[in-house]
Amino acid sequence: MSAATARLENANPHIFQRAGERLLTAGEEDEDVADPIDDREIFDLIRSINDPEHPLSLEELNVVEQLRVNVNDPGSTVSVEFTPTIPHCSMATLIGLSIKVKLLRSLPDRFKIDVHITPGTHASEDAVNKQLADKERVAAALENSQLLEVVNQCLSTRPV
């Protein structure tokens, strides 16, 4: 609740329409067909992450978009670009961390996960990218129980 009482950095952000649910295909219901992990599947993982400030998802704020997700299933790599709502957003690192943690928890070990800011959309882009790329700093951040708490709140499914 502390976020609600403090002044919000961006009280009235733009909101965007959500994509619909992925349509179920016959192939997905067939036992014998293997479904590769594709961009949409990765996007579905991260689009419902809650924004740390607003009761909105990253998708609704257009922080993540499907066309900024790239996955190479055979090569076991994932790359996600995210766009902070304003160039000075202080939550950028936290949002990046949430995306990274969500992917770490949801993807098989074999994937190399790269999360970074869409080039040219944030004032301290390089610093944030560097933090997110540093395995040890990510691990250390998750040792911090306050940070972990905020990340977990972002990843909780909202109570209906």
């Binding site: 609740m1 502390s2 609600a4 009482t5 919000l8 009280a11 009235n12 952000p13 733009h14 909101i15 965007f16 329409q17 179920l24 997905e28 219901e29 036992e31 293997a34 479904d35 992990i37 599947e41 579905d44 993982l45 607003h54 009761p55 909105l56 969500k102 928890r105 949801s106 993807l107 098989p108 070990d109 074999r110 129980s145 306050q146 972990l148 708490e149 905020v150 990340v151 977990n152 709140q153 990843l155 909780s156 499914t157």
Partner: protein, 1027 residues
């Protein structure tokens, strides 16, 4: 007499000096029985009451009070007066005696012969001599109960006390901490407020002494024996605080202050209390605080992440607006409502014109809440908002923005109960009618799916309010909808269009008859694909499919059914004639649409008559022709002779027949029975059939004819129970013969179902018993003969007859179900027997269910389970290793269909077996057990918690099962287990997370999806910020 007084003295002595507590009950019994009077008791107590030892006096008063509690109703007025005077005096006595005195007074206060003035004198001495809050819990409760009973019986006298009574109460209650006593105290305060006691200068004191508990934060202790909930306390306090406008000046600032708090519950409670005040408050009380209240409500709705706070805020705003709308206007003051709404509009309206930004939604909701509060407020708000919204709509060009604007608009035109125009007032939307319609039509003409869907919602809402759509506009709307049915490929849009058409057709059937139905009919029967039509690129089938669905949806009125049903029948007859391009799916969907129309017959008798007179005879004629034709020529067989089509026709006929009135139903029964028994075709149209059609004869090559028995079933098994089926015995005999001897699966199954349906509804008695016994005997003979070719037929009949008997609690049902149990060990039929329990326990869609008036007793499943589960467990234990799975399968079918409450109570006994079933190699058993466990795990019974280890190891093993469905359900179960209390499942966390890493890389996406959500929840478990 003397003996009794000696006895009394003995009892008193034993109680007072001997400390034998049980003597009090003996004395009370004596007084009640009339052995001695209250006066004699006081005399006998004599010395103990005046003793110089406070302990002895205490015992004496205690005995008197305990006796009085039992026998206060038998006292005379004089006795009561004396006793009260005594007790009042004792209040001044030693503190150790006070509890007993209070109990005695409480008993006396309940007396019906309380002398005038004594209520006042009790209270005066009570307030004067007792410091209530220094008493123990039970004594405080005694005081409150005394107040409550005096308020019930002596209201006038207490009011005579004036403000002293309120003051006394305030002093007594000040500092109360126990929730049980608080509930009593709040009840007294509520009575004071609602029954018009004089508060005068103590209004603020009474408010202070109750409002100090606001907002209530109370967590009942674990295994709370008193069962007091936070909710109870909140409601009790709210009815005090919101009970009188005189509290307004104190309460409203308090609410504003509490709304600033960080605790969500406090916010919600404050907002709800505010809403509760509105009915009693007027403008006078609110005026001063309106700006403050508004800014708090606005802040909460704008910023909150919680739906509870939001909806409480909106409700509070609505209540405030409603309250202001009621206030009477005086000539010299401004209109309070107008002033307030101006405030709301000023803060919210401009956000509506930024459809991309977040605040558009909360602003719209606030304005809509104010708008829906009353007719007057809706006049003000719509006049301010609608023109600007419509203007915005036409000036914006992006579809997403237009959609948002239209959604917002939709919220404003939805009528609420409180804003409905009264008699003589006209709809507030009337001035905007033309521009609303043109906006909707322009939105319908757009290409964006979202915009079209919203437009259909707006159109539906407009159509439901009388007077908002003129004739010409209805026609235009129908044209738009028709065009969308024909052209729009998006499934969601089509669905919305069809829904909208269905709802408009109820009020404006004529426009649909003249404009939509002919156009759809034309499209259905147009064979050539015209390149110039707008439907290019789409498959013909999809367009037809939409036309057929739309026809069914608009058939809500008899005049429309008379137009639409013949179109669908024409499709079927052209299919039968051959040479048309309708696919099998299209034919079944036509049948499905006919069924949807038949469902309307339930409410409208005229539609039922139409089905009886025209539709059902036509369907029977077509299928009969198809059957005869299929028998003659082997090269061309009509689509109407196919099992899929017949199965789709069954619900059409049974739905229609179930809705028939008694006389029509008897007529239908007579006609159909004579058709099937005697080949009487006189009621069918197009009378050109061979004579001597025998439909119920099972010659091997005539299955096209014998399968028509499913239509017989659809008809006679769904009629109301009051209708007697003619020639029942002959019919049952032929059905039994057909079901036992026919080799065509669909035919003998349908015959068995038809037989069962009739048996279920026949009136009980020897005739029925004889038929059933004869049939069961025949079945037994066939089943006992291992080499018989007709064992499967006999078994099928057995299952359906057993179901028919089981549903109506027939005494013979045990015989039939026992036979099925014994077949579980049969090598040939064992597996079928296990599956047959699913037939027995689940509702079958076409026969023997409540919608076709079958005799279904309540809780037959529980009864069956209670009587038979032991047999299964026993059978399982004694079975050979290879055949154990049959019993598990049967068990899981039964348990799966039990109501959840029963599942929960039976689970402890069954759990070992269900766990066994999870490790059974049969995938069907695994799946059925998992789907039975999953709902149970959402709210697990205590029995489960001791078996967690076994459960986890089996579930986690199943996440790598070869069957996709098993993997998915097993993962769902693992997910559900994450909701168990943390201390139980935390030990498994690491193991589950490790095990769930593998399914994250499953080859099927659906499995990965479940694995991701399950693993996500398990990560949150026991982690800060998780749960």
């Amino acid at each position: 007499m003397a003996a009794e007084s000696v006895q009394l003295a003995g009892l008193v002595e034993e109680f007072v000096a001997g400390q034998v507590d049980s003597r009090a009950a003996d004395v009370a019994a004596g007084v009640k029985a009339g052995h001695f009077s209250a006066l004699e008791l006081v005399e006998a107590l004599g010395l103990s009451l005046t003793s110089s030892q406070s302990q002895t006096r205490g015992r004496g008063v205690q005995l008197l009070s305990e006796v009085l509690q039992e026998c206060y109703s038998g006292l005379s007025e004089r006795e009561v007066e004396v006793l009260i005077a005594f007790y009042e005096n004792r209040l001044k006595d030693h503190y150790a005696i006070t509890p007993h005195v209070l109990r005695g007074l409480k008993a006396l206060a309940k007396s019906t012969v309380l002398p005038p003035g004594s209520a006042v004198s009790i209270l005066k001495s009570l307030f004067q001599d007792v410091n209530v809050q220094s008493l123990m819990l039970a004594e405080r409760s005694c005081v409150y109960n005394m107040l409550i009973s005096l308020m019930e019986s002596r209201e006038e006298e207490l009011k005579g006390l004036g403000p002293d009574f309120v003051f006394g109460f305030v002093q007594a209650v000040d500092g109360e901490r126990d929730p049980r006593n608080l509930l009593l105290a709040f009840q007294i305060a509520r009575n004071i407020i609602h029954r018009g006691y004089d508060l005068s200068q103590f209004t603020e004191e009474l408010f202070e002494v109750t409002s100090c508990y606001f907002p209530i934060d109370f967590t009942p202790p674990a295994n709370d024996p008193h069962g007091i909930t936070q909710e109870e306390l909140i409601l009790a306090l709210r009815s005090v605080l919101a009970g009188t406008p005189r509290f307004a000046e104190f309460l409203l600032p308090l609410i504003i202050e509490k709304l600033d708090s960080d605790a969500q519950n406090a916010k919600v409670d404050s907002l709800q209390t505010l809403a509760a005040c509105a009915p009693t408050y007027g403008h006078k009380e609110l005026a001063e605080f309106l700006p403050g209240l508004w800014s708090s409500i606005r802040r909460e709705v704008f910023q909150t992440a919680s739906e509870r706070v939001e909806s409480a805020g909106l409700a509070a705003l609505g209540a405030l607006t409603f309250c202001l709308s009621r206030s009477v206007l005086t000539s010299d003051s401004e209109d309070a409502l107008q002033v307030f709404l101006d405030l709301v509009l000023k803060d919210c309206q401009h956000h509506l014109y930024e459809p991309d930004l977040k605040l558009v939604w909360p602003s719209a909701k606030l304005l809509q809440a104010a708008c829906g509060a009353s007719y007057r407020s809706s006049l003000v708000v719509t006049a301010a908002v609608l023109p600007a919204l419509l203007d915005q709509y036409s000036s914006r060009t992006q579809c997403a923005q237009r959609r948002t604007l239209l959604e917002v608009l939709h919220g404003f035109i939805q009528p609420t109960p409180s804003s409905r125009p009264a008699e003589g007032e006209e709809s507030v939307l009337l001035p905007f009618q033309t521009s609303l319609c043109s906006t909707v039509f322009s939105a319908l003409a757009e290409t964006s799916a979202g915009l079209q869907i919203t437009a259909t919602k707006v159109l539906t809402t407009l159509g439901q309010q009388p007077g908002l759509l003129a004739e010409s506009e209805v026609e235009k709307a129908v044209d738009h909808l028709t065009r969308l049915v024909l052209e729009e490929e998006d499934a969601q849009v089509s669905l919305a269009v069809v829904e909208c058409a269905g709802s408009l057709s109820r009020l404006h059937p004529a426009a649909f008859v003249s404009r939509m139905v002919p156009r759809l009919k034309e499209e259905i029967f147009s064979e050539h694909v015209d390149e110039s039509t707008p439907s290019r690129g789409q498959s013909k089938g999809a367009v037809r499919q939409r036309c057929v669905t739309a026809l069914a949806a608009v058939s809500t009125q008899p005049s429309l059914v008379r137009e639409s049903a013949p179109v669908l029948l024409q499709v079927l007859s052209s299919v039968h004639a051959g040479g048309s391009s309708f696919s099998m799916e299209e034919v079944t969907s036509v049948c499905h649409s006919l069924q949807r129309i038949a469902e309307q017959a339930r409410g409208v008798e005229e539609i039922g008559t139409f089905f009886h007179d025209a539709v059902i005879p036509r369907l029977l004629a077509l299928t009969l022709q198809a059957a005869l034709q299929g028998q003659k020529s082997s090269d061309h067989s009509s689509a109407l002779a196919q099992e899929a089509v017949l199965s789709a026709l069954v619900p059409v006929i049974s739905t229609a027949c179930a809705a028939l009135q008694t006389d029509l139903a008897s007529q239908m029964a007579a006609q159909v029975v004579s058709l099937f028994l005697d080949g009487d075709v006189s009621f069918l149209p197009e009378n050109a059939y061979p004579s001597q059609i025998q439909l119920l004869k099972s010659e091997s090559e005539s299955w096209t004819r014998s399968q028509l028995v499913c239509l017989l079933m659809a008809c006679v098994c769904s009629l109301p129970r009051s209708v007697d089926v003619p020639e029942l015995d002959r019919l049952l005999g032929q059905l039994e013969e057909l079901s036992c001897t026919c080799v065509h699966t669909f035919s003998y199954t349908s015959a068995a179902k038809c037989f069962a349906g009739l048996v279920n509804k026949s009136s009980a008695g020897q005739a029925l018993d004889a038929v059933v016994e004869k049939t069961l005997e025949r079945i037994r003979a066939t089943l006992d003969c291992e080499s018989s070719a007709q064992r499967i037929q006999a078994f099928t009949l057995l299952v359906w007859v057993a179901k028919a008997l089981l549903l109506r609690y027939h005494p013979l049902s045990a015989v039939s179900t026992d036979k099925i149990f014994s077949l579980l060990s049969d090598p040939q039929l064992g597996s079928r027997a296990a599956d047959s329990f699913s037939v027995l326990m689940s509702d079958s869609p076409d026969v023997l269910n409540r919608s076709c008036h079958a005799d279904v007793r309540i809780m037959y499943r529980q009864r069956f389970f209670a009587e038979n589960s032991a047999k299964l467990v026993q059978g399982f234990n004694s079975a050979e290793k290879e055949s154990k799975s049959v019993y598990l399968k049967a068990l899981s079918h039964i348990v799966n269909n039990l109501p959840r409450q029963v599942q929960l109570s039976e689970l402890p006994a069954l759990l070992p077996l269900l766990l066994e079933a999870l490790s059974c190699p049969d995938q069907a058993v695994q799946l059925s057990t998992l789907s039975c466990l999953q709902p149970v795990l959402l709210d697990p019974p205590p029995a489960l918690t001791t078996q967690l280890e076994a459960l986890f190891s089996r579930l986690l093993a199943l996440t790598s099962s070869p069957a996709m469905k098993v993997r998915i359900t097993a993962l769902r179960c693992v997910h559900a287990l994450s909701r168990l209390p943390e201390h139980m499942v935390l030990p498994f966390r690491a193991r589950v997370l490790r095990a769930l890493a593998a399914p994250l890389d499953d080859k099927k996406r659906l499995v990965r999806k479940e694995a991701v959500s399950a693993r996500g929840e398990w990560f949150l478990l026991g982690s800060p910020g998780g749960k």
